[in-house]
Symmetry: C2
Subunit: 332 residues, 2 copies
């Protein structure tokens, strides 16, 4: 197989699902309007224009396609998960005090934190209206649970921030909540509306869960290895914010006493000065934590692939397979 093709499974999935993605787009556009509050479409449009990867709606559409779903609920649910994702982005930017998202100023900078909070709430409510239109109680219950798990993950991340005793296990709980919960729900709902059997639903859930974890680990890695222009974020942001991600957690766990003092000063007390990011990177190199973090992301990608082995063999399944590796390889 052509290597260039293998590396672009996301684009190929987008291509295969192009008609459905277009329907999702127009549903999103029609539902982000508000008769009374024009600020809502302004802000949402700003985020949509920045052009996300649409990973979550693609998961829903792909899993429905795996089971030859015919109907309109996959479009509703793909729009639902993108609305939930967009809402969490808005609230994340308030919480992280971010200045850039996808290479553009964040909405909390362009408007204000207040608008970002309230438009996020509106998009959550819209997602909830959309999913209710499926009249599928199993779907509603799964997405309600996912929403609660996402919020718990975000709150746990907040309390773990600047806490250098954060373990890899806590990191996993955070990641599973804030990122993987929506991936697993997005994949599974496509199966639920297709009336796939329990084994298939469980496979889709596990795939989404493992893919989400691999994705987040790779994302955290990119914060240290990526260039601003490829990630659209400021490199080293996580270090500056005292976010405890795997590269730091692994370095802290092996730190000598003077190194621990460095982490305490820069992370626990957030007293940073010029050269600290370089020193942090030197310590990550010393303990090879960027490589071991990458290995962990690959392990989760493999778990994702293993999960869908029993699903119907077809081009979509093969692309979902390739997607897992591709997601980690972004962070090379």
């Amino acid at each position: 197989m052509d290597i260039a093709v293998v590396q672009q499974p996301l684009q190929r999935l987008s291509g295969l699902l192009a008609p459905e993605l277009q329907e999702v787009d127009s549903l999103i556009r029609s539902r982000m309007t508000s008769e009374n509050a024009p600020r809502i479409p302004d802000i949402t449009q700003h985020l949509m224009d920045a052009g996300g990867k649409k990973l979550r709606p693609i998961l829903t559409l792909a899993s429905a396609a795996l089971f030859n779903y015919s109907g309109y609920d996959h479009i509703r649910l793909a729009a639902t998960v993108e609305f939930i994702h967009t809402a969490t982005l808005l609230h994340d930017d308030v919480v992280d005090e971010s200045k850039q998202r996808r290479g553009r100023p964040t909405s909390n900078l362009l408007w204000d934190n207040k608008s970002a909070v309230l438009v996020g709430d509106f998009l959550f409510a819209r997602s909830f209206q959309l999913m209710t239109e499926t009249n599928d109680l199993e779907v509603l219950s799964l997405l309600a649970d996912a929403s609660a798990t996402i919020a718990e993950g975000e709150i746990l991340q907040l309390t773990a921030s600047q806490d250098i005793t954060t373990t890899e296990s806590v990191y996993l709980t955070i990641t599973r909540g804030k990122t993987a919960a929506l991936f697993s729900a997005a994949a599974k709902v496509g199966g639920i509306i297709s009336q796939a059997d329990e084994a298939a639903l469980s496979a889709l859930f596990t795939y989404g869960d493992a893919l989400g974890i691999a994705f987040q680990i790779a994302d955290d890695l990119l914060d240290y290895t990526g260039k601003d222009d490829t990630t659209g974020k400021n490199s080293g942001d996580d270090f500056r914010e005292g976010k405890m991600t795997l590269p730091i957690i692994k370095a802290v766990s092996q730190a000598t006493e003077p190194e621990l003092a460095f982490w305490q000063r820069t992370i626990s007390h957030n007293q940073q000065q010029a050269g600290d990011l370089d020193e942090a990177l030197r310590l990550m190199k010393k303990y090879d934590t960027l490589a071991s973090t990458r290995a962990e992301a690959l392990t989760w990608a493999e778990r994702a692939c293993d999960a869908i082995e029993t699903l119907p063999e077809c081009e979509i399944r093969d692309l979902l397979y390739d997607l897992a590796g591709y997601i980690v390889n972004r962070a090379k």
Copy 2:
């Protein structure tokens, strides 16, 4: 009828519904826990300890009682509306930068804005899980719509803030969204689960809508007429924040040129100095806008009463009737 009794319909409703309210309380307590994020119950408990009036859950329980509902969904839905209300309080305090709520420091002061945003999100998700457990699609759809309307009302309020051209009609749209949408939904869901007929459901909705509007107008009035220790808020907060509520809207609409300059400086440009609140109050007195605002609240209270005339005659209905007047009379 004893006047003291007439003035306390809320306490009498609480008394009549005490066993149900206790069940609601314990359901709320059991659902605000989080295995992973102890900050969630900490913050929620802080709000619950402050002891709100529990008006919204009382509406749900009362409307279910009107139709002799027997089951558990009224408890779930009463807890649901209280969770939604608590979530909006948390986000409101972030948006308003409030320092006091119900006479206690707000959670955004005790913790931080980040926690208030995320715990609010968690409570929204919890409310959504709870209502999903009723398996009632009509209820879900109504509450999803209400959630979107609430967010739209809040956003419209934000864009109307400091805008002295805000009309009474825009004020009504804001109020109907941010406050009345949850009142009307809370009242109607109690009827839905009781399988009340369409006319009764529409009566409950209209009652909640009118009661919510009366309540909010009275609340806005209290901001100018109440003492800190009775409202638990800082008196004059709305003026300082440039919030366009009826007493100001009515004064601006009749303002002379120098008065308009005063409103422009203090509200549009938010350039306030010592004595400005007194001057604002003097202008409200000049045009008697506190009295005409109060009259408007009473009109809405009457509409609420008219709406439920056709509902089954019983003590609960009489108390709902009295509640409307009581809610406005707080703001004497």
